[in-house]
């Protein structure tokens, strides 16, 4: 089962929830954690995995053979991303704009364009106790987070058991790459107008991708009741509420593991997992909500 933890708003507790569920559930079943927040991956700071594999993520990028190039400009006309320009009969490439569609190489009448892999990030894998760990990191200055997130997400296919995906914040391309084809999406929010507004966007995204979703409200007690009212009116189940507790915030600050320090959270997360399983198997109260 692929369980993705997402949120419209950043800093609501996605990584905390993903990491602590992974640690707890790995005690009794095979669990992998995939950190798809490749712009700012953080799960490793709490899991301290021993990395045993590292591979580059590349994108095929055009290389023009000047001998064969006739300067016809077909490649530039085909490229939707302005990554090739033809000036004075010579083709110039701008690799950082390339999306790797392959159109230029495919359609060059002279066969003058070939493609070479260009590094845009890395994937690292390892073990954190019983949790199989994978994360991606986009290179600094590379605008292509989505292909790196997608490359990490693809590795879910290799794993058995429960796969927990930690998604980036927001609702655009890299988030879609993480959430798409998940069995369930947990949306973590906080009970404030910011949390509510961004939750509504995230629910819209999950529905667009046809992934069933449920909500975890974090830092309950700081804020208002609007998130609960919204979820009730939309028929979205609130699967867990975590009270605001300065001790949890301090544990998070130092990179600690909540399930090791707060037994009451173990029970809550265990119940959360049972609720998710019910939702996915189709007999939960939220099953009609999408």
């Amino acid at each position: 089962m692929i369980l993705t933890v997402a949120s419209g708003k950043g800093g609501t507790g996605k990584t905390t929830l993903a990491v602590n569920m992974a640690l707890l559930l790995a005690e009794t079943m095979p669990v992998a954690l995939l950190d798809c927040d490749v712009e700012e991956p953080n799960a490793h700071l709490f899991l301290h995995p021993a990395i045993d594999a590292c591979e580059p993520v590349t994108l095929p990028t055009p290389v023009v053979d000047e001998e064969r190039c006739c300067g016809c400009g077909k490649c530039a006309a085909v490229c939707a991303f302005n990554a090739i320009l033809v000036l004075g009969g010579r083709a110039l490439t701008f690799p950082e704009l390339c999306h790797g569609c392959g159109g230029c190489a495919l359609l060059c009448p002279e066969g003058a364009v070939t493609e070479e892999p260009r590094g845009i990030g890395v994937i690292e894998a390892g073990w954190a106790e019983k949790v199989r760990f994978l994360h991606g990191r986009v290179d600094i200055g590379a605008p292509l987070a989505a292909p790196v997130a997608a490359a990490v997400r693809k590795r879910a296919q290799e794993r058995q058991g429960l796969i927990i995906v930690d998604a980036p914040p927001g609702t655009s391309c890299p988030v879609v790459a993480a959430v798409k084809d998940s069995d369930y999406c947990l949306l973590v929010t906080e009970p404030t107008p910011f949390g509510l507004h961004d939750l509504q966007l995230a629910v819209g995204m999950a529905r667009e991708l046809q992934v069933p979703c449920g909500v975890v409200v974090n830092r309950v007690g700081l804020g208002d009741q609007q998130v609960a009212a919204y979820c009730a009116s939309e028929g979205i189940p609130i699967l867990l509420e975590i009270p605001f507790d300065r001790r949890y915030a301090e544990c998070y600050a130092r990179g600690g593991q909540l399930v090791r320090e707060f037994p009451e959270l173990r029970d809550k997360l265990r119940k959360l997992w049972l609720r998710i399983r019910m939702e996915v198997e189709g007999d939960g109260p939220g099953a009609a909500g999408h």
Partner: protein, 293 residues
């Protein structure tokens, strides 16, 4: 020339928007810009009245004219984004997966595929109690947030020039990817709002490296600094070591959350509280820094 101040954080949820909301109330002669187009929240504090609304369209999507499709599957073979598949002998497009590259349209022997503009969002020129504001919203699961960010910045700057404003204050997106790159390129100062947590420090380092990559001046603020004083020291030392001044240290103060719940800037909710006082000091430090540039 108006100066552009960008507020970013790397990590989400560190308090960017609350800082921009406070600055909105403190700064004079400025235009506000919300460049977190994925999840724009600044309007929830500033209650803008929309004066102009515009469509935003920067991408295309493949449209298949099924009556011309001969089912040759060439389009499926060439698509690198797995956006095409065959249903009953006719190609169909998954609009979410479609990258808009147009290779399918070029390769189709029957001319059965055309590339059509997609309206992927809206942008607005608005008026707030604190001055003019440019903001936007990106459609759900849409691409090109980088281009929409660039557009919001451009319009905010135009407005600032026209009105003779001194500053453009930009609420930035989280992360270090395409929308952040659009937001940071050539700003006068990037103020990075961090927090004293393991994740906050890790993300601060990456976002500072991004600023260096683009040759942008940086300053840092530490939000909820009293949550972990040792980590606050660590951030200050790290920033000192690389020549990034720490211009503000905001204590954990429930008034910040309460202001959000009330839907107003902190300065309007609790102007004399601890966090508000620190916001005031920070704004003075930022102005001093901008004046010196």
């Amino acid at each position: 020339m108006a100066q552009e101040l960008l507020v970013i954080s790397g990590k989400g949820g560190t308090g960017k928007t609350s800082v921009v909301g406070a600055f909105a109330a403190l700064a004079e002669h400025k235009v506000l810009a919300d460049c977190d187009v994925d999840a724009a929240d600044l309007h929830l504090l500033l209650s803008p009245k929309v004066r102009e609304a515009h469509d935003f369209s920067a991408s295309k999507e493949a449209l298949i004219h099924g009556e011309h499709c001969i089912g040759c599957e060439r389009c499926i073979v060439v698509c690198r984004f797995d956006a095409l598949s065959m249903v009953d002998g006719v190609a169909i497009v998954d609009p979410i997966a479609c990258e808009g590259c147009g290779v399918c349209a070029h390769i189709c022997p029957e001319g059965a595929i055309t590339m059509e503009d997609v309206i992927s969002g809206n942008w607005y020129l608005s008026e707030t109690k604190y001055g003019p504001m440019v903001h936007a919203e990106l459609g759900i699961a849409q691409e090109n947030s980088g281009k929409l960010v660039a557009l919001v910045r451009r319009e905010a700057k135009k407005l600032a020039q026209r009105a003779g404003c001194k500053y453009v204050i930009i609420d930035g997106p989280p992360g270090i990817g395409c929308p952040v790159i659009s937001a940071i390129a050539q700003v006068d100062l990037a103020l990075i709002v961090s927090e004293p947590t393991a994740a906050g420090i890790h993300d601060l380092e990456r976002v500072l490296a991004l600023a260096d990559h683009f040759g942008v001046e940086t300053a840092a603020a530490i939000n909820k600094y009293d949550l972990d004083l040792a980590r606050t020291d660590q951030i200050e030392e790290y920033c000192r070591g690389r020549g990034t001044p720490v211009v503000g240290k905001i204590p954990f103060d429930e008034a910040v959350v309460k202001a959000v719940v009330e839907g107003v800037p902190l300065m309007a909710y609790d102007p004399d509280g601890q966090a508000a006082q620190e916001m005031r000091t920070m704004w003075m430090n930022v102005v001093e820094y901008l004046d010196a540039l």
